[in-house]
């Protein structure tokens, strides 16, 4: 394992207003990534304004005091750059990738967004419609599209992870002027943000420019709302059936697990890989290849700041019932619990993990996001370079132990996702 130490060099510091800055230089290409991660996501929303963090992300492309509506995109595009943003349960991430001579353009734009974003009524009404179409396209009108939303609703009853990032159309419709003002004032402040530059730039000049554009942005004036992390464990298995416009039934298991990069998270991640990464993985080989019960299987731990979930699913072959699929899934999990894994499988996991971590390093934006995430959740950017070590320190027993600890029936939600039948009604 000689190649596992691809370390990302970076420098970091705080401005007086609390903005955290991370600088990673790489001059292999004349490009620079400019990104800002705000520590706000759907979990910071009010229960009657779900979807607001993501909706707000759309609004923050509308313009600022110095950038007229629609010009944000034009400025980046005219500079030959590209831009986007995404919102999760825990954070909102804005980014641009520019030719390196446009570093200052990027800093200007992001500082405008942080200092005095401006949205007019036309912009609000348009983005309201756009976000509702996004919801229809990606969730409501897509087979299995609401699977995660329905799952989280059942896996949590108190924590704000119980609602989806896209949120409710009614809540988006209900949003008012004061909601925007308050949200912006509370969360879009320098002491709640990480600015990261990755790519081809001169350190000294970059620091001067960062100071020029960001140092005068005032820090927050009120306390930032952070929901409590803990929700009690599930006391028993929750089972339910959801009917959708689909042809093939699916079985979904959602188990509660530790937060991203905390406690047993790394063991759970490897456990997930052994179940579903690659054609030799346990669930794939058993359900898709050997028993031919499923067309597709998957297992994904959600990388959440607070204790979260791992989602496992199998989509059945035509004519196979959900009970049959579920018992095959359970049998594979039980096998890991009782027999553990072989040395060869363990080495496979290490090779897969090493490959994945190296592949991530091919993109400036992925690196910027990784560094920013570790700082945002842990105030410890260097954890990004210690990831492989966290995995390599695990043993075969740790992975089997994680199966026994987390993949218990009492710790899960089970959903049968079935084709709509005449007369069938979904529970609310």
């Amino acid at each position: 394992m000689s190649e596992n130490n691809i370390s990302i060099d970076f420098e970091e510091y705080d401005l007086d207003n609390g903005l955290h800055v991370i600088l990673h230089r790489d001059d292999t290409s004349p490009l620079v990534a400019v990104s800002v991660m705000y520590h706000v996501g759907s979990k910071n929303e009010r229960p009657d304004r779900t979807g607001f963090a993501h909706f707000f992300e759309h609004l923050l492309f509308e313009g600022s005091k110095n950038i007229p509506r629609g010009q944000f995109f034009n400025i980046v595009q005219n500079a030959g750059g590209t831009l986007n943003a995404n919102t999760s349960h825990d954070r909102t991430f804005y980014f641009e990738l520019f030719p390196s001579n446009h570093l200052e353009t990027g800093l200007w734009l992001e500082s405008e967004r942080m200092l005095h974003a401006r949205v007019d009524t036309t912009g609000i009404e348009t983005q309201r419609s756009v976000v509702k179409e996004e919801r229809r396209q990606r969730y409501d009108n897509r087979p299995y599209g609401t699977l995660v939303e329905e799952g989280m609703k059942r896996a949590f009853s108190e924590h704000p992870y119980r609602w989806s990032v896209i949120g409710s159309m009614a809540h988006i419709d209900a949003a008012e002027e004061s909601d925007y003002k308050d949200f912006y004032a509370e969360f879009y402040v320098p002491d709640n943000a990480v600015l990261c530059l990755a790519g081809d730039f001169e350190l000294k000049r970059a620091k001067l420019l960062i100071n020029k554009y960001f140092a005068t942005i005032p820090r927050s004036k009120k306390e930032i709302y952070r929901p409590a992390a803990a929700e009690a464990q599930l006391s028993r298995e929750i089972r339910d059936t959801v009917y959708d416009n689909i042809q093939l039934p699916a079985v979904v298991h959602i188990y509660r697990i530790p937060a991203f990069a905390r406690d047993d998270y790394f063991a759970v991640k490897l456990l997930s890989d052994i179940l579903s990464t690659g054609a030799s993985s346990r669930l794939y080989r058993a359900l898709v290849d050997e028993q031919q019960k499923a067309v597709q299987v998957g297992s994904f731990p959600f990388d959440l700041e607070h204790p979260g979930v791992i989602l496992q699913f199998a989509i059945g072959n035509a004519g196979i019932g959900p009970e049959e699929i579920e018992s095959a899934m359970d049998a594979e999990v039980a096998k890991i619990m009782s027999e553990g894994l072989s040395q060869e499988e363990f080495e496979k996991l290490m090779n897969q993990t090493e490959t994945q971590l190296i592949n991530e390093k091919s993109s400036l934006l992925t690196i910027a996001e990784g560094l920013s995430t570790y700082y945002t959740y842990f105030r410890d950017t260097s954890m990004y370079n210690r990831q492989f070590g966290q995995y390599a320190a695990l043993t075969r027993d740790d992975i089997a132990d994680a199966a026994r600890k987390y993949l218990r029936k009492e710790n899960r939600v089970t959903m049968y996702w079935l084709p709509k039948q005449p007369g069938a009604v979904n529970h609310e």
Binding site: S2, T105, S129, E133, N141, I358, S362
Partner: protein
């Protein structure tokens, strides 16, 4: 006091000036021609300790008749067991190295860390050269395909793709063929073997490697694998590329419970790869639907809020080119959205594009180009195109200059040449309730989800 606060932000008023544009560096490729006719391209890139390789078998296209889907199943079957390894053995080895390998009807892809690449590349070559065609794996793939085809009834994108094939391309052309449950049921294992024998061969293959590997190492790898592959005779089938234009029509396919309509607009065009129009035609399509602030996206998303987003593409193709755009909109605005798309197409054909918009599109397209050449995979794609189509060495290097020389008048003439004002094929996949909105566009044809006519 207030004035001084204003002052500290006064410098922000205008976008800052940019320094001189960085020079674009093109990586160089190396080429090898094997005795059996296989063409090998290498792009060295030692930044990360990994290598990837793509195999492209240029066997063209062919009619599959009642067995549509034969090529896809065969491509998948290659990595389901070889003469040396059963599927589960082969999977176990590939996964052990943390590698990605897949095979398809036109070749395959392999990627791993450098230290494992020798072993992984051999497994890949084994799948391509010595597939075993095990009957059990074949049955499993066919069964999965049938399940996936049944699932298409609820997938608007798949339905649209089927009905576009039927309406846009003429009968007798391979692009007209749709994979259906009945066509997949007709395919047998022997068909796969025969199809493989007729279409997989070194003398139509390009192997493109990129990453942390030298030409000497590539030679050694290839000597032990693909250099041993036997040449075959091959005659590429030819198809009529003539296009018949009809009056604008609209095809509808119902999808139960839809809360959005998936709209498509498409037609065939005569647009050969790397022809003399390519740069200007690409700019023209970018104006229409090739970037965030394109006319379609500005109109349908940013002005009207009809959709999450829309883009369009103008595809060059040796066998038959095409124009295609599709968009998801809420049911109520289906016909209005179609009307806006047609309006934007016509406007581009008739009006001269304003200078600032043309400049913006040039900046976008040249920006995309400059960023893309930083990715070694782009250089690999360019190298393949140059070899396959016999383009001059500096073809791609001159692209930026050519982008900036295109005039507004050329954009309009490209729109007149490659876009249609009438004779469009319109498509809607969605709720029955939207049907009454559609008759104003032309004759309505109804199809089921597989593209079979319905009445």
């Amino acid at each position: 006091m207030i004035d001084s606060i204003k002052d500290i932000h006064a410098f922000r008023k205008d976008p800052p000036p940019a320094g001189p544009a960085p020079e674009i560096r093109f990586r160089e490729e190396q080429r090898l021609l094997l005795e059996n006719g296989m063409k090998v391209i290498l792009i060295e890139n030692h930044k990360l300790p990994r290598v990837n390789a793509q195999l492209f078998i240029d066997h063209g296209i062919a009619l599959q008749g009642p067995k549509a889907g034969l090529n896809e199943i065969t491509g998948q079957l290659l990595s389901c067991g070889t003469i040396m390894n059963s599927k589960s053995e082969w999977d176990r080895k590939v996964d052990y190295y943390g590698a990605t390998v897949h095979t398809s009807s036109i070749g395959g892809y392999v990627s791993s860390l450098s230290k494992h690449f020798d072993a992984v590349f051999s497994l890949f070559a084994e799948a391509i050269m010595y597939p075993a065609f095990p009957v059990g794996e074949f049955e499993n793939i066919r069964r999965q395909q049938l399940s996936n085809l049944a699932a298409q009834k609820d997938e608007a994108e798949s339905i649209l793709s089927n009905i576009v094939k039927i309406r846009v391309y003429p009968e007798g052309h391979p692009y007209h063929e749709v994979v259906t449950e009945s066509s997949v049921s007709c395919i047998g294992l022997e068909d796969c073997r025969r199809w493989y024998d007729a279409n997989f061969m070194p003398n139509r293959s390009y192997l493109i490697l990129e990453g942390n590997i030298s030409l000497e190492e590539v030679k050694t790898l290839v000597d032990g694998t693909f250099a041993r592959w036997q040449k075959k005779d091959f005659a590429e089938p030819q198809f009529d590329r003539s296009i018949v234009r009809e009056m604008t029509d609209i095809s509808f396919s119902p999808k139960e419970g839809s809360v959005q309509s998936l709209i498509g607009v498409s037609f065939a065009v005569d647009y050969l790869p790397y022809n003399e129009d390519m740069i200007a035609a690409n700019l023209m399509n970018s104006v229409l639907g090739g970037y965030f602030s394109s006319r379609l996206n500005r109109n349908l998303r940013e002005d009207k809020g009809f959709t999450y987003g829309i883009s369009s593409r103008l595809s060059q193709d040796e066998h038959m080119g095409s124009f295609f755009t599709s968009v998801n909109v809420r049911n109520e605005v289906t016909s209005e959205a179609i009307g806006e798309i047609i309006k934007e197409i016509r406007r581009l054909r008739e009006e001269i594009i304003p200078a600032d918009e043309l400049q913006q599109v040039k900046n976008v397209v040249s920006g995309n180009f400059s960023r893309s050449v930083e990715d070694p995979r782009t250089i690999a794609r360019f190298a393949l195109a140059r070899w396959k189509f016999g383009l001059p060495d500096d073809y791609f290097k001159n692209q930026l200059i050519r982008i900036h020389s295109v005039t507004a008048e050329e954009i309009r003439s490209m729109a007149k040449k490659y876009l249609l004002a009438d004779n469009l094929h319109l498509f809607v996949v969605g709720n029955e309730a939207v049907l009454p909105q559609l008759s104003r566009f032309g004759k309505i044809y109804r199809y089921d989800y597989e593209g079979k006519p319905q009445n």
